[in-house]
Amino acid sequence: MAVIRTEKLTYTYSQGTPFEKTAVNNVDLEIEEGELVGVIGHTGSGKSTLIQHFNGLVKPTSGKVFIDGTDIWSKDVKLRDIRFKVGLVFQYPEYQIFEDTVYKDIAFGPKNMGLDEAEIDKRVRETAELVGISPELLKKSPFELSGGQKRRGAIAGVMARRPTVLVRDEPAAGLDPKGRENVLDQIKQYHDETKSTVLLVSHSMEDVARFASKILVMNKGEVLCYDTPPAVFARAEEISSVGLSVPQITRIFSLLRQRGIDIRGDVYTVEFALKTIKEYLEKNGRGGLENA
């Protein structure tokens, strides 16, 4: 069964004022359990608004959201329970920390769930380890940490609740290339270890392409496509035409195809590109490439 399902989901900001803007338009979506979904779209494509529907932070203007098959806006559903199920980490999560120690800040989420002390302690320590925060840092004030540590601490605060679905909005925003790499690896690791559903919002195809099992492309509030990476990147031209960049390696292959070389277009990692080129050369010899 789909863990997240939306039905004709529409959201309009500032309805009835001159600032009116439809951010999410008529979205029908089904996300299966255990997927690692990359959500891609331009700034203002509605991806951030869309994900805020998944834990009931935003009430749809029209349409429905189902989490685990329950309509989250029906009367007898407690939104807090939904929020424990769907953990949402915002952009720059380091701006939401407030407790006087890192430990307490991570424990804030589990505490709200009403868990007992022993369980909270266990979860805080486990999650801190998972995100790479050493035990001695737990006693420090979160405001003394470095930017990267702060962010990891804030993320641990959401992960410690063990949500069925983890949604991360632009986890790599404002990080250097190495930090990016770390964050993405961490998400992959979390996904592999917990087998939970993970949604990763990004505007960089390159980041998402390597890990995601499914890619959701948003454009102007609508779903352009939702499919496996090979199927999405096979439509590289279409994606480029709405102004999203595809991975460089995909672009090279689509340029090759434009020049009349009969090579597959669904290439999005360098390793796979190497394999494809080798296969092509074995099949056609060098001649095919030199003609181009």
Partner: protein, 270 residues
């Protein structure tokens, strides 16, 4: 939820009222307030309301906005009118137990309600149609003579501009932090008063931290641009007044005159 606050918000549009010189708009708003509070009879009050309706129609704003701006002051209106009804002496209209309601009480509170509503409507019209930056600019120019007395007019205007400029930013920030804490399972909508007050801590602390950060960044950015106060500073957009501004001012004075004449008539013919 916080985004629905409309007090002090500016709605950019193109209308006769939007185009008026901000200095004139401030003066006209002041004249309107004088009109409302000096009107001493219902015909005079209606005349000043006619003036508001004209201004409102010329502004092309939707009536919904005006109604929305009333929402936060409804408690104040109810409170003052109830006080007036009960505590003003006059001829008793009806009597229940110890509570006596008099004709004067009813009339005074009626006036009060209309005046308060008109006051809010009038000042909302000013802020809806004038961008905060232009508004403070106008205030700075109007207060300029005070700088002769070594009053820090420019600094005051700059502080106002910055404060106004950051209201939407802070609202947005608060909204974001609230969402983030709700996503972490914070419960802000239920519980006792003490529990609710405690639930605000996770919002207020990050808000303070980010305000200090912003203030520091802004100060640094201003210094990098060699900002050193108002001395010798020129304006990119200077306020210009034209015929339309004087016409609007004359119209408002005409209405004020009308209100005064009606009231004088009342006194003379009584």
């Amino acid at each position: 939820m916080l985004k629905d606050i409309t007090i002090g918000q500016y709605f950019p549009m193109d209308s006769a009222v939007h185009r008026l010189d901000a200095r004139f708009k401030i003066v006209i708003t002041a004249i309107f307030i004088v009109m409302i509070f000096s009107a001493d009879s219902f015909p005079a009050l209606i005349l000043s309301l006619v003036f508001f309706v004209i201004a409102f129609l010329a502004s092309k704003l939707s009536p919904k906005l005006i109604i929305k701006s009333m929402k936060p002051i409804i408690p104040i209106i109810i409170f003052t009118s109830v006080l007036n009804i009960f505590f003003i002496d006059g001829v008793t209209v009806f009597h229940i137990w110890k509570i006596r309601i008099t004709d004067n009480g009813l009339i005074t509170s009626g006036y009060m309600i209309i005046r308060l509503i008109a006051l809010i409507c009038g000042s909302s019209l000013l802020t809806y149609t004038t961008s905060p930056i232009v508004l403070t600019d106008a205030i700075e120019q109007m207060m300029k003579p005070l700088s002769k007395l070594h009053f820090p007019v420019h600094e005051l205007a700059m502080m106002m501009t910055i404060a106004l400029r950051f209201i939407p930013t802070l609202i947005e920030e608060t909204d974001k932090i609230m969402s983030a804490q709700k996503a972490r399972g914070a419960d802000m909508d239920s519980g006792t008063l003490v529990e609710r007050a405690k639930a605000l801590v996770p919002i207020i602390i990050p808000l303070f931290v980010s305000s200090f950060r912003r203030a520091e960044e802004l100060a640094l950015a201003m210094e990098c641009r060699c900002y050193n106060g108002g001395e010798g500073r020129t304006k990119l957009k200077t306020l210009v007044s034209g015929g339309a501004d004087y016409a609007a001012l004359c119209l408002s004075l005409l209405f004020l005159g009308g209100v005064m004449i009606i009231d004088m008539g009342k006194i003379i013919f009584r």
